[in-house]
Symmetry: C2
Subunit: 340 residues, 2 copies
């Protein structure tokens, strides 16, 4: 029997490959695999469903991740997918597999974080599964949200001439991870050393306790704005721009000068000898929103805090490009996170 | 910090303990943790959500489980929870974490099984996550179903005098597992030995490829029967009777002579020096339905194939009892499956 390594396809390629022959047979299923969330027609409302799996040693490292933060993050990153549909999460299920090295007290910490996230975002924990694993901790969260038929945003709605917008700043979560990884390594080499987190509270907070942009979706309602497309920035800006362009069948121009980077992230990137824009484009785990708006809607967002215009949707034949601060046009490359 | 071992609470105790402080804040959430599925009010319909996590080395052993069967079973056991609400599943999400020992071809096998289950039960695969794991395979399935407000069955509806009914036979899946485990051990001791499955196709099929009882829920619709309570038999009859009794605040009498056991399972149990009724009560993984009906509805089911009357709901003060074939009354004990 042939043996093809899974990493030859990449994460998205693999999902596409495995699910290509699955038909949609239920008339209520409006959207299956391929957006931030699935969409189900329930008559009065649309139900929006998203799911994520977090695996110890792949998505998190308990050497520097407090269990409470982990619980919070596991929920927040999932809700982020629901907000990215321009919908509001209402319920979650949380399934956990854990080895016997975890005590009831450790689980209570994890659930305290899940509880805090449920409170912050006003979602109900309605189910789940708790089982043992031979090794390590696995968390699977499914979020269920409610959306209005006329307001839901897909990845596929961007049109030529639309403006590309970003909420909040990018790259900081990735730099937070770099600090935590460096300190872990130093500590492993010499357990006497106390971690030096350099008062980098901002970037470490972005890594360990990200928030989903519920506030932004609420603002959209208040100012009566419906983005033409939206996606959450979980794998780095570049990867998300590629998703929007692929599904909207368009190209894009990103202005480096328009990509928001926090001053602390910028300084830290230079210290790590990394290009700050690379951290923003390919770092991931920011959980901000990337959305596009019609040019005539620009006045609605121009003076809003934490919303940045970072580029424009182009014709597909123009490709996906980055205009650097130095004025050079590069083809944008999407690395995303390679887990395999 | 105190350290309490998770197995001191048991699986159900642990879930109860961890989720006891989670309030329900969304008005649409009709039922959270504690039944086969959560229930969400969507106006015209009720949405029913259930989730399960299957972990290699805990819930399945790839030494004797073909990946295609595993994919089928992972879906079927989840749908069983939706049918147990007297509702019909419509969509599923499937998340998978796997180590690099799995090839694309192996995953294709797994997804072929998921595909077959989607086809059998007419559900749409609408999302999921595929990620790597340091070791082993983890599958998390969430099923979303649709139910009628007036027809949904909870664990809490059984009333004194109701008849306790079972679909299909019990214990065979557990005996199938015993054969597979025995052959694995023999094979590990001597890899030259060909497995001797003794033509035990029935019990092995019950273990490796269980079906969810969609047909029974369809029959309920046709004969216009609404059970007063229902649960799927995943952890053995005894454990499920306890769930019904606890949530309905009643007692129960189970007649050993009324518990259906397949002749092949019965013979095999004796060969393994196991009491057949113990296999039925505590074996688990049968994925049949346990339901209760009002005594005046008995004529609706009396002549249906594969529906057995196995006892009666008693007052809570009468406890939960088994009347053996020999005419002795025992207190029923629920072991369920202990994973920790």
């Amino acid at each position: 029997m042939a043996r093809t390594d899974v990493n030859t396809l990449g994460e998205f390629g693999l999902i596409e490959h495995l699910t290509r022959n699955f038909p949609i047979v239920q008339p209520e299923t409006l959207k299956g695999v391929g957006d931030d969330a699935a969409v189900i027609d329930n008559g009065t409302h649309l139900t929006v469903v998203s799911t994520d799996m977090l695996v110890e040693g792949i998505h998190f490292d308990l050497a520097y991740t407090p269990l409470k933060h982990l619980g919070y993050k596991a929920v927040a990153v999932n809700l982020s997918d629901i907000y990215a549909m321009n919908a509001f999460p209402k319920q979650i299920t949380v399934s956990i597999a854990l080895s016997n090295r975890f005590s009831v007290e450790a689980l209570e910490e994890l659930y305290a974080g899940i509880h805090a996230a449920c409170e912050t975002y006003q979602v109900d924990l309605v189910g789940g599964d708790t089982t043992s694993s031979p090794k390590g901790l696995v968390i699977s969260v499914t979020a269920i949200g409610q959306g209005d038929r006329d307001l839901l945003c897909y990845r596929s709605g961007a049109q030529v001439g639309d403006l590309i917008c970003i909420t909040g700043d990018l790259g900081a979560a990735y730099l937070g991870l770099q600090i935590l990884e460096r300190e872990k390594q130093l500590w492993q080499e010499n357990p006497q050393i106390q971690p030096d987190l350099e008062n980098q509270k901002y970037v470490i907070g972005r890594q360990l306790k990200p928030e989903a942009r519920r506030d932004v979706v609420e603002i959209f309602r208040k100012i009566n704005l419906k983005p033409t497309s939206m996606i959450d920035i979980s794998d780095g800006l570049a990867s998300e721009v590629f998703h929007i362009c692929k599904q909207s069948k368009v190209g894009a121009l990103i202005e480096e000068s328009g990509v928001p980077i926090h001053p602390e992230a910028e300084m830290l990137a230079l210290k790590f000898k990394l290009d700050p824009i690379t951290c923003a484009l390919n770092g991931g785990e920011d959980y901000e929103l990337l959305f596009t708006i019609r040019p005539e809607d620009v006045d609605l967002i121009r003076f809003l805090p934490e919303i940045y215009i970072a580029g424009e949707i182009l014709d597909a034949k123009d490709g996906i490009k980055l205009n650097t601060k130095g004025g050079n046009l590069h083809a944008l490359k999407a690395q995303g996170w390679v887990h395999f």
